[in-house]
Assembly symmetry: C2
Homo-oligomer: 408 residues x 2
């Protein structure tokens, strides 16, 4: 959770070419909250009529900005909205001062953007428990408001990075009712990433027109099998926030569009994968699929137990098709399993079935799969039809270096 | 889970001087199950009248010997008993062959020791999913039975080691009704160690006289706040077994003795601590106490969430009094907490209280505590009177080296 090191080997070749989302503009500034010599605050401003939906960390020690955002969900859409994010300091566990800092930032943002305070959503990410020097942010708000640019989304993605080694963006454009609707999102996150919560900071924008309550339902549902299905280290941030803003500027009603829903899901899944691909110390991207569980919930419990097991994650780092550790992780998960019905498959190669190693299994085949960057593990529990897929990365010396040597 | 490396820096100076437990004798042999050039099988034989109590892994994929032992608990005590343990191969996830191997070993042990099969308890520890070459063990049983020695307990402790870097023993002698009752136990374990289960392999012997059902109740109760309160890596073995054998040879009835109960608890706690002190890659022994939770159960949930957090464990490895990560771990645990009532203390130094850093806190003080080998973290939740203490170690490069580079 600290010094930015070499770019992850799993990073995409380049940041994607983002479309202009009509009704949204961005600006960034180097406010010196903590980092030197880089932009660390971003502002996004949305046009009147924009619907905003969100999901947040379930942590009992969630940060002051998260508490403020949660209160504001579902508010009136006619005036537009803004998102103000700083990196370098999470304003979490900062007591009453933390709430005051949020109030100051919200107030200054509302003034600069000519918006009601109820439509200003903020987030802070970085070190926990240090007072946020909010004046460094409020002092720059007039500048931020004066430099808004619809094409500045990549700069916004960079400004919210902490230990991230690359800026994360994803986009989709789909045809609905004969017109083009665009979706574009950015995310940050690489450690303190765990499931069963909205995870990290994610901001997605679309010019589709959708009722705010419908958008909230859609986002919550898609969140369950995208961001809530990734884990880097089983640790859950106190600041995780996901906001989706629909400006409606395309004039295309997407309330009932399966095409739009699928495209939004695709953008959310891609951003979730990018967060895993920037997992602290990651050298492998791992997809874990569990089928044949008694229920979908049980399947997810098994899959996350495998994904969070330090022994499984270190075996993957060592390129060892160590299916015994997968058996162990399924056994400890707490969800029902029967040793003699269990089968395990690495990269399409059946390694174990019905309680023992597959007699046709040749370890060299699975070992070859483990040498790749994309690892697939599939466990069939043999009890029912429940299934789930989750994504994680390996556990390497890089994770220890990043987290043992610097204050997060 | 593999190559034996340098002795843990947390190891005690020497194996303790163990008393003879009247009615128990031990033998070991180098059977070549997997390791070369070291004893890897141990036999313990107990006199007629010995009560045997046990607790085992709750894993859904538990090993064949565990399934066999669980069936045998509570059997008749008049004939005596035996324990046969091999290291190097866990006989877990080995299908029907695994059950056959257990049957062969039990049968040969019963014959060699002149005992009913129902009183032969076995365990296997080591690699998962490879067939156990049981003939290498059964071929040595006559030798083992012919070389039993009441003084060979340290050799027994060494024979059951896998990735352990030192043999683990603990003992207590107490006066009950004017006579001395002795307790002595051995344990193995250093990775794949997690709570909420009976953990690792542990064998404890006493010459106290106690009803077998009473002993079972006592062992299960003490297990909850000793072995079930330690964690190395949150991963749970498929083979964890704890057996306590009371020969009654002292003639001292300890059924209602609080002194005996306390002494047994002390031996169990010491063995549990020794397992943590041999945690894979460990350089720090960490005690985490949670008070003020809504219930004892909630306190343990919070404490284990802190103890299993990779970010907390890496911070400890880096000697960083990073209380923000403790806040994070309490927040994610799922048990109730209130940010503004939470206080955190490192080594007796109050670092945070009532939702923010303690104004009198000087980081250099906590940093000095973190440089020691014994780290104490205390969190008060401020909600009730629930409390719990758990023990863990730090997460270091050593853990990654041991687990990424070798097949467990």
């Amino acid at each position: 959770m600290a010094k930015i090191t070499a770019v992850s080997p799993l990073a995409p070749e380049a940041f994607p070419k983002m479309p202009i989302i009509d009704g949204v503009s961005f600006s960034t500034v180097a406010a010196g909250v903590k980092y030197e010599g880089r932009a660390d605050v971003m502002l996004a401003k949305m046009a009147p009529g924009t619907a905003v939906a969100g999901v947040f960390t379930q942590s009992a020690t969630r940060s002051a900005p998260v508490l403020d955002c949660q209160r504001k969900l579902g508010g009136p859409t006619h005036d537009g909205a803004a998102i103000l994010v700083n990196s370098g300091n999470s304003n979490a566990f900062t007591g009453r001062n933390g709430l005051d800092a949020v109030a100051q930032i919200v107030s200054a943002s509302a003034r600069a953007c000519d918006l009601p305070e109820a439509r200003v959503f903020t987030a802070s990410t970085g070190v926990i428990g240090e007072p946020l020097p909010f004046e460094r942010i409020t002092d720059r708000l007039e500048t931020l408001a004066a430099t808004l640019d619809p094409a500045a989304m990549e700069a916004a993605a960079s400004a919210i990075m902490t230990t991230d080694t690359f800026a994360k963006g994803a986009t989709a454009s789909v045809e609905v009712a004969g017109k083009i609707v665009s979706i574009a999102g950015i995310a940050k996150g690489s450690g303190m990433i765990a499931p069963d919560m909205a995870t990290m900071l994610v901001y997605i924008f679309t010019d589709g027109k959708i009722d705010q309550a419908n958008l909230q339902t859609l986002v919550a549902a898609h969140n369950e099998n995208t961001f809530n299905c990734i884990t880097v280290d089983s640790d859950t941030s106190t600041s995780d926030s996901l906001l989706v803003c629909a400006t409606g500027a395309s004039g295309v009603d997407v309330d009932d569009s399966q095409t739009f829903s699928d495209a939004l899901h695709g953008v959310m899944q891609e951003l979730a994968h990018l967060v895993v691909k920037d997992g602290e110390g990651a050298t492998k991207f791992v997809e874990i699929t569990v089928t044949g569980a008694a229920s979908d919930r049980d399947a997810k419990t098994h899959a996350l137990s495998v994904a969070n097991s330090p022994l499984v994650k270190t075996a993957i780092a060592g390129e060892d098709p160590n299916w015994g550790r997968v058996v162990m992780a399924i056994g400890k998960s707490g969800a029902p399993a029967d040793r003699d019905r269990l089968s395990i498959n690495f990269g399409g190669i059946m390694v174990a079935k019905e309680g023992w190693v597959n007699p046709d299994y040749v370890e060299a085949d699975a070992a070859a799969h483990m040498k790749g960057q994309n690892i697939r593990i599939h466990a069939d529990i043999g009890l029912g039809s429940g299934e789930a897929t989750v994504w994680t990365c390996d556990l390497t010396h890089g994770y220890i270096e990043i987290n043992a040597d610097y204050r997060s």
